[in-house]
Symmetry: C2
Subunit: 110 residues, 2 copies
């Protein structure tokens, strides 16, 4: 049984968050999770990309260890939930500023 590493809220760093989101693939995954109520599996959150699943697994790990998402084993798949409250507590206003800009940036040709 795989056990995932999740940083405590106070251990989330701005550097880690920016580095995690400074990648179009990971930004789009996080945007999908934020747009969705509840949680999504990895394949739901990153559909139709030509990216190898080992690479996607790597991207989810980066998001997880940056504190942006929480991953839970649920049966055969992983359920991913954005840690929006934790990020807001640590960096107030960051997501509110960033997500609309990202949504606009990746609206088309994403």
């Amino acid at each position: 049984m795989v056990q995932f590493v999740h940083p405590a809220t106070e251990d989330i760093t701005l550097n880690g968050v920016l580095a995690a989101l400074a990648d179009p693939v990971r930004m789009k995954i996080f945007m999908s999770l934020m747009a969705q109520e509840g949680c999504m599996s990895c394949t739901e959150a990153a559909p139709d990309t030509g990216i190898a699943k080992s690479t996607l697994s790597h991207h989810f790990r980066i998001l997880r260890e940056a504190g942006l998402i929480r991953t839970l084993k649920r049966g055969v798949e992983n359920r991913n939930v954005p840690r929006a409250d934790d990020i807001d507590a640590r960096f107030p206003g960051l997501l509110r500023a960033l997500l609309p800009l990202a949504a606009h940036e990746y609206r088309r040709a994403g």
Copy 2:
């Protein structure tokens, strides 16, 4: 004579800006430039770090090509100016959200 590459305002990407600032060294350089009225040389903007000057040159290039700073040859040194207006035009509210958080994050033990 070295000629620097500066993207047009409309060619600045969110991905490039985030990637450039997702590095403590570059974030601190940019913060110094924003805090300063006018412009600063490379050595002024990145003082007292144990970082090789070739590495610093690389960091300034990343900031420049991301559209965050403008670099002008002025005599023997380079004058660097933050492109705050261009970033604000391209990504409204981004710097206003990000810089205070970065200032708090890197206040001490930076």
